[in-house]
């Protein structure tokens, strides 16, 4: 029943190859299945962000390949890759996920507009997601009028909008207090079940790690442990 959505083969990333080379990711073979709820953990500088960027098609590997569903994303041209990200990958960043001049709901609708969804679909889906995120009351507020936790929930809704193949979240809770962290993780976990959305997130936070159903540990760019719970 489960099938791989991401497959990396001998993935390697070297920064500054000409000056002082930094090997950020080293020969990573990783397979992520549809419906996983995976945490990437490890000490600062171990390569978590780099790995997520490579998987998300934001950065190009020095060696190796990334296959998303049936697509070798290394073979896409820039515009195609941009379009691929738009349609198949959801992103949640640590902060500054939202367009400040748009309301919470408009932020979700905006990405669907880029995805060419029609008006009815946009309105229906954004309302549904706002409801699921527990943001129904606050959906007409602008980001500046929302708490950090609420902003991250809108970001998750935005990432889910097009039902992407997977959602990448690089330290989504880094700027949140413990209560907001817990509620964001609960919502992500619920979306993982209700929408069968695949989540891959990086974190330092033990409470976040505890909620993951698969934990991949990186050290110096290499996978040192990979446990499923």
């Amino acid at each position: 029943m489960s099938m791989p959505v991401i497959e990396t083969i001998k993935l390697k990333k070297v920064y500054n190859p000409d000056k002082i080379p930094v090997v950020a990711i080293d020969s990573v073979d990783l397979t992520i299945e549809q419906g996983e709820f995976t945490a990437i953990v490890g000490p600062s500088g171990c390569g978590k962000t780099t790995l997520l960027n490579l998987i998300g098609g934001l950065d190009v590997p020095t060696e190796g390949s990334v296959k998303v569903a049936d697509t070798q994303i290394g073979q896409l041209r820039e515009a195609q890759l941009t379009d691929f990200r738009l349609k198949h990958i959801g992103f949640v960043f640590q902060s500054y996920n939202l367009i400040p001049v748009l309301t919470a709901r408009e932020n979700v609708e905006f990405i669907m507009l880029l995805q060419n969804s029609d008006k009815k679909e946009r309105e229906g889906r954004s309302a549904e997601l706002m409801e699921k995120m527990g943001m129904k009351e606050a959906m007409d507020r602008r980001p500046a009028e929302l708490s950090g936790g609420q902003q991250q929930r809108v970001a998750v809704a935005r990432a889910l909008a097009s039902r992407p193949k997977f959602i990448l979240a690089d330290e989504p809770t880094a700027n949140l207090d413990s209560k907001s962290t817990e509620s964001l993780l609960d919502i992500m976990s619920r979306m993982n079940q209700e929408e069968n959305a695949t989540f891959i997130f990086s974190t330092h936070d033990h409470r976040v790690i505890d909620k993951a159903r698969r934990v991949i540990t990186l050290e110096d760019g290499k996978i040192t442990s990979d446990e499923r719970r």
Binding site: L58, D59, A79, L86, Q94, S95, N97, I99
Partner: protein
């Protein structure tokens, strides 16, 4: 900030344009009303050889044609004699205009330009009207006696004693400089010839000028008929000059605006590095980001330009009604035949053109910032998140 610059720029342009317009219009109006009239008719040879003997042959017929033409507002037939005016202290070369006082008043409002004396009111013999300037030059005043010297029709030097009965101050510098007015009957008696060298015509409407000319040309072949801008090429020159000035003004202000727009939009792009990086990361195409910046700039100009236009319009309305008093600087202006109070005005089409120019400027100004926006590396941008 850009909005403010656009508003002020547009407003300033409208103001300057309108002012320039009214300035030129006033100058042209004065030149027409006090000097050239709309149409001038001369004997064919008079223009190349200004001699009193080249008078309009069909003058009776022409005058009756003019007085029955409803498009003609007024006309004045003049006998032109070049000569000398002398007081006991000094003398000066002048053009003696022998006019029929009532007609001349209709055409050049000479009667209203008197600063002293009266307008051929006394029936006494040989009255002459001289300008303030000539009076000063000859060191004479009202009721002074002067001697006019000129050639009669036989070519002999003749003189006549005249008395200054009025002193005028025309808005035409040329007339102030060298023209004096006498009754035609007085001068033709002395010249020994009753002829008309020039007929100045005022049309009721500017657009009727060509028709009047055509009517005259059809009936009178032996004369030269010239419109004001041919009599005085400076009219066309002024027109051209004002067009050039306007283009220069527009260019300068739009250039300033252009740099203002580039600068602010560039800052806006830089401030929004993170937002743009995020948008590129989640899948917004470069072209779309480019379009977004262009569109935002355009929107700014579309909001700001009409505000500037409105302000300009209102300013024109205000000064158009009240007039703009430049009398503080008017002394020197008057020397050149300009007025001291202006009523700025602007064609409606100018507002549209200005709007277009602003929008185009905004578009051009947006290109570089938009290009910069898509050059941003999204990875670099989100690393700073």
């Amino acid at each position: 900030m850009v909005m403010g610059a656009i508003i002020v720029g547009v407003w300033a342009l409208i103001f300057l344009f309108s002012f320039l317009n009214s300035f030129n219009e006033a100058y042209l109006r004065n030149a027409i009303n006090y000097e050239y009239s709309h149409i001038q008719v001369h004997h064919r040879s008079y223009l190349t050889e200004p001699d009193v003997k080249f008078s309009i042959t069909d003058k009776e017929k022409m005058i009756s044609a003019l007085s029955s033409n409803s498009m003609v507002q007024a006309y004045s037939a003049r006998q032109l004699v070049s000569g000398m005016i002398a007081s006991s202290k000094a003398n000066s070369g002048v053009m003696i205009y022998g006019v029929s006082p009532a007609d001349e008043a209709q055409v050049t409002a000479l009667d209203q330009q008197l600063v002293e004396g009266d307008y051929f009111a006394e029936i006494k013999r040989n009255p002459v009207l001289i300008s303030k300037k000539t009076a000063d030059k000859l060191k004479i005043g009202l009721r002074s006696k002067v001697v006019l010297t000129f050639q009669n029709i036989e070519g002999e030097i003749t003189s006549g004693a005249f008395r200054v009965t009025g002193i005028f101050d025309s808005k035409s510098p040329k007339i102030n400089e060298s023209v004096i007015y006498v009754r035609q009957s007085d001068i033709s008696r002395l010249v020994g010839f009753e002829g008309v060298n020039e007929i100045a015509i005022l049309a009721s409407q500017l657009r009727e000028i060509p028709q009047i000319e055509e009517d005259l040309r059809r009936e009178f072949g032996e004369v030269t008929i010239r419109r004001y801008n041919i009599v005085a090429p400076e009219f066309d020159l002024l027109e051209q000059q004002s067009t050039v000035s306007k283009q220069m003004l527009t260019t300068i202000i739009m250039l300033a605006l252009l740099f203002g727009i580039i600068n602010t939009m560039l800052m806006a792009v830089l401030e929004r590095t993170k937002e743009i990086g995020m948008l590129r990361s989640v899948g917004m195409q470069k072209l779309r980001v480019f379009g977004m910046i262009i569109w935002e700039t355009l929107l700014l100009s579309l909001v700001a330009a009409p505000v500037g236009l409105m302000m300009g319009f209102v300013t024109n309305l205000y000064f158009g009604e009240r007039g703009m008093d430049l009398s503080r600087y008017a002394e020197s202006l008057k020397e050149y035949g300009y007025d001291s109070i202006y009523y700025p005005s602007l064609d409606n089409s100018a507002y549209y053109i200005l709007m277009l120019v602003v929008v185009v400027t905004a578009l051009i100004g947006a290109i570089y910032p938009a290009w910069k926006a898509i050059q941003l590396n999204p990875l670099e941008a989100i690393r700073k998140l």
